[in-house]
C-alpha cells in the first residue's frame, strides 16, 4: 500500500514538473539581453553573432527550443552557462552541496532555537518566557537576513575577530577534504582532517547563525500554536485525570503536535533552498542560489532554468518524504 502511494505521488509530480519547466522556460526566454552579444562583446561582427546564435539554437522557433530542452533535460543535460563555460549540470552538482549544507545546518539551528522556545511558551501561558517568545516571533520575521548577516559579520569578525572572514566555505589556503557527502564539515569529520574541519566549521558558523535566527520564527510560532492546542486538548486533560506524571503528559502532547511542526519544517526547507540566496551572496558561499541569481542578472538562461528544475525536484522530494513521515507519526491518516 505504501509503494502504491509513493508511485501515485511520483506520477502526480510529473505534470507539475512539466508545468514548472514550461513556465520557467517561457519566463526565462522573455528576459531581455542577447547572450551572443554578452559572450562576444559589443564589437563583435553581426556575422559571428548570428553564427553563435545559430549554434546555441536561438534562431529556431520557441517550441522547438523547448522540446529540445526537455529532451536534453531528461538525459541530464541542461545546457551550458556562458559565464562559466561549463555544463550547467556540472556547475549545479558542484554548488548544490554547498547550498544544502548551509540550508540543512541553518534549519537545524532554527529548530534548536525555535522548538524548545515554542514548547516552553506553550507550557507557560504567561511570564517572561512567553513574552520573549512572542517578541522573538515578531522580530525574527522582520529581520532582513542579508542585513543580519552583515551585522553578525561586523560584530564577530570586524570587531571581535572571532570568526573567519566572510569569504566562501573554507580558507583558501586550506585544502578541502575528499568529497563524500558534499558537506565540508561532515566530510572533514569523517576523514578526520582537523585543519579542514576547523576551517570549514568556522566559515559555517555565521551564515548558519543568520539562517537559524531568522527562520526560528515560523518554527516557534507553529510549535507554540500546536503545542498550546495539544495542552488544552481533551486527551491531555483526560491523561491528567488518570494521574499520569507530568513529563509523560508532556511527551504525549508533543507527540500529538509533532506532525504539524514537521510540516512547517519541510515547507521551510523547500523555501530555503531558493531562499537562502541572499545569505549565500553575503558570504560568497558559492551556492546554487547565488549561481542562479547571477544567471538572471546576466541573461544567462541555462543556469536559471537548471536551478529552478533542480530545486523544484528537491522540494517535491522533500514534500514526499514529509508526507511519509506524517504517515508514520499520525495514525489517523492511515485509516
Amino acid at each position: 500500500m505504501l509503494l502504491r502511494y509513493i508511485a501515485r505521488r511520483i506520477l502526480y509530480v510529473i505534470p507539475q514538473l512539466f508545468g514548472i519547466i514550461l513556465v520557467s522556460f517561457l519566463l526565462v526566454k522573455l528576459i531581455p539581453g542577447d547572450p551572443a552579444v554578452m559572450m562576444l562583446g559589443p564589437t563583435a561582427s553581426e556575422q559571428s553573432l548570428a553564427a553563435l546564435r545559430d549554434k546555441m539554437g536561438y534562431s529556431k522557433p520557441l517550441w522547438q527550443q523547448f522540446t529540445y530542452y526537455i529532451g536534453a533535460a531528461v538525459h541530464g543535460d541542461f545546457g551550458s552557462s556562458w559565464q562559466t563555460t561549463r555544463p550547467v549540470t556540472e556547475d549545479l552538482l558542484q554548488r548544490f552541496p554547498a547550498t544544502l549544507e548551509l540550508v540543512t545546518f541553518g534549519l537545524l539551528a532554527a529548530i534548536a532555537i525555535g522548538f524548545p522556545l515554542g514548547v516552553a511558551a506553550a507550557r507557560l501561558q504567561s511570564g517572561p518566557v512567553h513574552k520573549f517568545a512572542g517578541y522573538y516571533r515578531l522580530v525574527a520575521g522582520a529581520i532582513p537576513d542579508f542585513w543580519l548577516a552583515l551585522v553578525l559579520i561586523f560584530v564577530f569578525y570586524t570587531r571581535l575577530g572571532w570568526s573567519a572572514p566572510p569569504l566562501g566555505r573554507i580558507d583558501m589556503a586550506v585544502a578541502p577534504p575528499k568529497t563524500i557527502t558534499g558537506s565540508l564539515v561532515i566530510d572533514s569529520l569523517i576523514v578526520g582532517d582537523v585543519g579542514a574541519l576547523s576551517s570549514s566549521f568556522g566559515h559555517l558558523v555565521l551564515p548558519v547563525l543568520t539562517l537559524g535566527i531568522v527562520n526560528a520564527g515560523p518554527i516557534l510560532k507553529m510549535t507554540q500554536i500546536t503545542m498550546t492546542r495539544a495542552f488544552s486538548s481533551e486527551f491531555v486533560r483526560y491523561a491528567e485525570m488518570f494521574g499520569l506524571p507530568r513529563r509523560v503528559v508532556l511527551r504525549q502532547a508533543v507527540r500529538a503536535a509533532l506532525p504539524a511542526v514537521v510540516t512547517i519544517i519541510s515547507v521551510l526547507y523547500g523555501f530555503l533552498i531558493g531562499g537562502a540566496v541572499l545569505v549565500e551572496i553575503v558570504f560568497s558561499w558559492g551556492g546554487a542560489g547565488q549561481y542562479a541569481v547571477q544567471g538572471v542578472l546576466n541573461a544567462d538562461v541555462n543556469p536559471v532554468l537548471g536551478f529552478v528544475v533542480f530545486s523544484a525536484v528537491l522540494s517535491l522530494i522533500i514534500y514526499l518524504v514529509v508526507d511519509l513521515i506524517y504517515f508514520a507519526l499520525d495514525p489517523r491518516t492511515r485509516g
Binding site: F235, Y238, E240, M241, F242, R246, Q252, D330
Partner: protein, 328 residues
C-alpha cells in the same frame, strides 16, 4: 449504616462559584453534602445544568477555571485532594479514584494504541514492568468483553465504535482497582442495548473489586438497577436523598416525582406533576429554586428557601411541602 467504617467520600457544605463577566456570579454548587461509604453505590440524578458534572470534577480536584471552590470541602479517603501538591494528587487519581466519562473517544490520545493507553495507567501507578502491565491491560480488555481483544489492543481510538471506546474507558478506570469510581453520564450517547451491557459490566466489575461508585446520570431509571442510595440534584442543590427502594416506592420531592412521572405511560400523570413557568418567571432570591416549576408551591416557597431536612425512614428532602402520604 455503620458509622465505624470511614466513608470513602465525604463532601461537606460544598459551594462552587463561576464568576461572570459584568454580571452576578453563578453558583454551580450550593452547599452540597454527600457521603459515600466504602463499597457503596450511590446514584446522582439531575438534568443538564444541574451541576452534576461540576460536582464530579470538584471531587477529583479539577474544577475548571474560572470556577472555584468558594466554601466547603471534599474529603476523599480522609484527604482533601485540592490541598495536595501536584505529584501527590497525581498519585491518587487513576489509582484510588477514577472517573469514567461519556463519549471518551475524543479524550483518548489519537496517536497511541488503546491497549497501550490502558497499560500506561497501570505502568505509571503500580510500578510494574511494561510487559506485566501490558498483560494486565489485555486482561482488562477481556474483562470488559471487547471482541477480539488481542487485535484491539493495538487499535487506535478512531478505529473503535462508541461502545468499544466506552469499554476501553472503563478498563482504564478500573485497571488499578480504585476505591471509588465516578461514572459521569458514562452511558449517554450509547445505543440502548449497549447501554444495558455497559451498565451490567460496570456494576459487576466495581462490585467484584469492592469499590464504591458515584453513578451520575440524567436518566433516573438507570439508578434503580444497582444503587443503594439515590441523590437528586437540582440547580446546584441536593433536593432529595434516600435509599433506592424507598425512593422508588414513594418519592417525596415534587421534582423527583416529576422525573419519575416523565417515564410513566400516563400523560395525565405527567401533566399533573409538570408545571411550565410563565414567561419571565424565575426563581426569587431567597426562595426555593424549584418553585417556578413546582405544582405544589405555596407562598411560603417563594419567600423562604427550604433546607435539607430529615424525614421518616432516614431520607432527606429539601422542600416545605414534600409528598409524604399517598397522594400520587
Amino acid at each position: 449504616m455503620a458509622e465505624s467504617t470511614k466513608p470513602i467520600l465525604e463532601i461537606s457544605e460544598l459551594w462552587v462559584t463561576f464568576p461572570a463577566y459584568r454580571a452576578e456570579a453563578i453558583h454551580a454548587l450550593k452547599g452540597i453534602d454527600l457521603r459515600i461509604d466504602q463499597g457503596e453505590f450511590v446514584g446522582l440524578v439531575g438534568e443538564s445544568g444541574s451541576g452534576k458534572t461540576t460536582l464530579a470534577r470538584a471531587v477529583m480536584g479539577f474544577v475548571p477555571p474560572p470556577g472555584r471552590v468558594e466554601r466547603g470541602r471534599v474529603l476523599f479517603n480522609g484527604r482533601d485532594l485540592s490541598h495536595l501538591d501536584d505529584d501527590a494528587r497525581r498519585a491518587v487519581l487513576g489509582r484510588e479514584l477514577a472517573m469514567v466519562i461519556a463519549n471518551p473517544r475524543a479524550e483518548l490520545n489519537p496517536v497511541i494504541p488503546v491497549g497501550r493507553q490502558i497499560s500506561n495507567v497501570a505502568y505509571y501507578h503500580l510500578g510494574m514492568r511494561r510487559a506485566e502491565t501490558d498483560r494486565l491491560a489485555l486482561n482488562m480488555l477481556r474483562a470488559v468483553r471487547i471482541p477480539d481483544p488481542e487485535r484491539r489492543f493495538n487499535a487506535y481510538p478512531h478505529d473503535l465504535s462508541g461502545g468499544m471506546a466506552q469499554r476501553v474507558a472503563i478498563a482504564m478506570a478500573l485497571i488499578c482497582s480504585p476505591k471509588l469510581v465516578i461514572s459521569d453520564d458514562a452511558t449517554s450517547g450509547l445505543d440502548v442495548t449497549v447501554q444495558a451491557q455497559v451498565l451490567d459490566l460496570l456494576q459487576r466489575m466495581v462490585g467484584e473489586k469492592g469499590a464504591a461508585a458515584l453513578f451520575i446520570t440524567r436518566d433516573i431509571a438507570i439508578t434503580a438497577h444497582f444503587c443503594s442510595r439515590i441523590a437528586i440534584i437540582y440547580a446546584g442543590e441536593i433536593v432529595e436523598l434516600a435509599e433506592t427502594a424507598a425512593f422508588f416506592e414513594r418519592p417525596a420531592h415534587p421534582y423527583s416525582i416529576m422525573l419519575l412521572a416523565a417515564f410513566s405511560h400516563s400523560p395525565a400523570l405527567r401533566a399533573r406533576w409538570t408545571r411550565v413557568p410563565s414567561d419571565g418567571e424565575t426563581a426569587t432570591t431567597g426562595g426555593c429554586t424549584f418553585a417556578p416549576r413546582c405544582v405544589r408551591r405555596q407562598n411560603r416557597c417563594v419567600v423562604e428557601a427550604p433546607t435539607l431536612r430529615q424525614l421518616t425512614g432516614g431520607r432527606r428532602v429539601r422542600c416545605h411541602f414534600p409528598v409524604e402520604s399517598d397522594t400520587a
